[in-house]
């Protein structure tokens, strides 16, 4: 790299991306759009071409009920890789990183050199460790292979037990109910989606799932599984000793970031691969982003690791500009507003911003009609908005939080206050 920072005079750097999920593929795409002309190699562990994971716990499970598994939605068509001169390696893991030599070694022994290395390794499902957790019929849901197995199992199952009332567990529960199965959800916490939602919204969702016919058992974790005598699960036994007969169990008990490569290479790991606000790890030539990375979160004011499509793709677009030297105002910290969504049967949940435990909450709209939002405030400032079937509120909240437009709890609850028009007001420069 030349010393006057002129991006036009940089030699073409070779960029290797470990991981071909939403973050890794968006990064390759954005690097080319930002004008990076050097080699790009994206390495994926799965044999399958890169695909979108979010539909796998939703539409995918109700599509073609009784038939074969539907085709997944690709992240990019096959011709994207040829058209953009992106080298896509499938079905091969990375075995190790040699930081001093600037190489990665693949599981098949291939050695690849890099100028910059990007870890987009994502996360892995946490497994259950209780007795009987290895029985057939107990599934996780993350990869396409998982989803194909669950789709097939739904075709013959009658009674389903879900372990964990998080996004994945409840999306799956709603899909299984839509297919007419009996569904029980065990959640050791006192309310569903406790990590992501305010108590008010969490409690509304508990009632909504009960209305769908799902039995939601709160304060009840999994203790063990019973064998049907042939190595298949027959029942789940909860921490209260209650026995729930089941022929299909779905475990949705959270994820762990894939940090093993970073740890083995001696990079700093702190609830994920630790990066600074420019998404750089403790090695100046190695970056990390998406589900695997923890970063100083501008809106929360603390180091956080977020698991979402928005986080993966916005960080990828940001890092592409960093690596290509095309940030319009020079190097900028990553500070995009986090937002999330979940589709649980007919319920569209959208979250803008980051709620803190203990935030003051107010309700806008009509919970009884299933169209409303919870606005969260901390010391009088808006921190987050959670919306059900109310995308207008969600989009308004995103604009308010992005541009730091003030909102009072009184305005938020006032049905005559035109939130949408207010949020579109041109922000006054600071």
């Amino acid at each position: 790299m030349d010393t006057n920072g002129n991006p036009g005079q940089r030699p073409a750097e070779s960029i290797v991306v470990v991981g071909n999920g939403q973050a890794g593929i968006q990064l390759a795409d954005s690097l080319r759009k930002e004008g990076h002309s050097g080699p790009i190699t994206v390495i994926g562990e799965e044999e399958h071409f890169p695909y979108q994971r979010p539909p796998l716990s939703k539409d995918y499970l109700v599509a073609a009920a009784g038939g074969g598994a539907p085709a997944p939605l690709p992240l990019r068509a096959g011709k994207f890789f040829a058209d953009n001169d992106v080298d896509s390696l499938l079905g091969v893991a990375v075995a190790g990183i040699d930081r001093a030599g600037h190489t990665v070694t693949l599981a098949d022994g291939t050695v690849l050199g890099y100028s910059k290395l990007v870890l987009a390794t994502g996360a892995a499902n946490r497994g259950l460790t209780v007795p009987g957790a290895g029985l057939a019929g107990i599934h996780g849901l993350r990869t396409l292979a998982d989803a194909e197995a669950v789709h097939a199992a739904l075709g013959t199952a009658r009674r389903v037990v879900v372990i964990g009332a998080g996004f994945i567990g409840l999306e799956f529960a709603a899909a299984a109910r839509a297919r007419g199965l009996e569904v029980t959800v065990l959640e050791y916490a006192g309310r569903p989606m406790a990590r992501a939602l305010s108590p008010a919204m969490s409690e509304w969702f508990a009632a909504a799932h009960a209305d769908m016919g799902t039995v939601l058992r709160l304060g009840e974790g999994i203790a063990s599984f019973q064998d049907d005598g042939a190595g298949h699960v027959a029942a789940a036994v909860s921490t209260t000793g209650t026995v729930y007969p089941a022929d299909l169990v779905l475990a949705g008990v959270g994820v762990s970031p894939r940090t093993e490569l970073a740890e083995a290479a001696g990079l700093v790991v702190e609830n994920g691969v630790a990066v600074d606000a420019s998404l750089r790890t403790s090695d100046p030539d190695i970056y990390a982003l998406g589900d695997c990375a923890s970063y100083p979160q501008a809106h929360a004011g603390i180091r956080l690791r977020l698991e979402s499509v928005q986080n993966a793709t916005d960080q990828a677009r940001h890092l592409a500009r960093t690596l290509a030297g095309t940030h319009p105002d020079g190097q900028q910290p990553y500070a995009d507003l986090p937002w999330f969504w979940s589709q649980q049967g007919p319920l569209k949940l959208q979250i803008a911003g980051l709620m803190h435990p203990g935030d003051e909450t107010v309700v806008r709209g009509d919970p009884a009609a299933g169209k409303f939002s919870v606005f969260c405030f901390r010391r009088g400032e808006l921190t987050a908005a959670e919306s059900v079937n109310q995308p207008a509120d969600h989009l308004a909240a995103r604009r308010l939080l992005t541009h730091k437009l003030p909102l009072t709890p009184e305005q938020a609850t006032d049905p005559d206050f035109d939130l949408k028009a207010y949020s579109k007001a041109v922000p006054v420069p600071a």
Partner: protein, 107 residues
């Protein structure tokens, strides 16, 4: 099979033959039509599959849903009377062919 034509700003056109029931977004993403992203996987959550449906096909489409209506308000390129989200427009069932113009930007 149903036919979808994607007209680009540079004058080129991609023509796809797809199974009835396929959405404009899925057809574009699966076949690598440039300019259509589909970042949320087709749930009307992200407005990155914005298209302008050519006038002669507009009447054959189901009306814009509430969710779609709100998302169309935050497209990157200007919303017009011809704006739809590609994930909400499916071919087949009376709509055997459709032509759309692809916006300049989605993100």
């Amino acid at each position: 099979m149903a036919k979808i034509s994607f007209h680009h700003g540079d004058g080129s056109t991609d023509v796809l033959e797809v199974e009835p029931g396929t959405s404009v977004m899925r057809a574009a993403v699966t076949n690598g039509v440039s300019g259509i992203v589909g970042e949320c996987g087709g749930q009307a959550m992200c407005a990155t599959c914005h298209v302008y449906v050519r006038q002669e096909y507009l009447d054959a489409l189901p009306p814009v849903g509430d969710d779609e209506d709100e998302m169309l308000d935050c497209t990157v390129d200007e919303r017009t009377d011809r704006s739809r989200l590609g994930c909400q427009v499916k071919v087949g069932d009376g709509l055997e062919a459709i032509e759309v113009d692809v916006p300049e930007s989605q993100v």
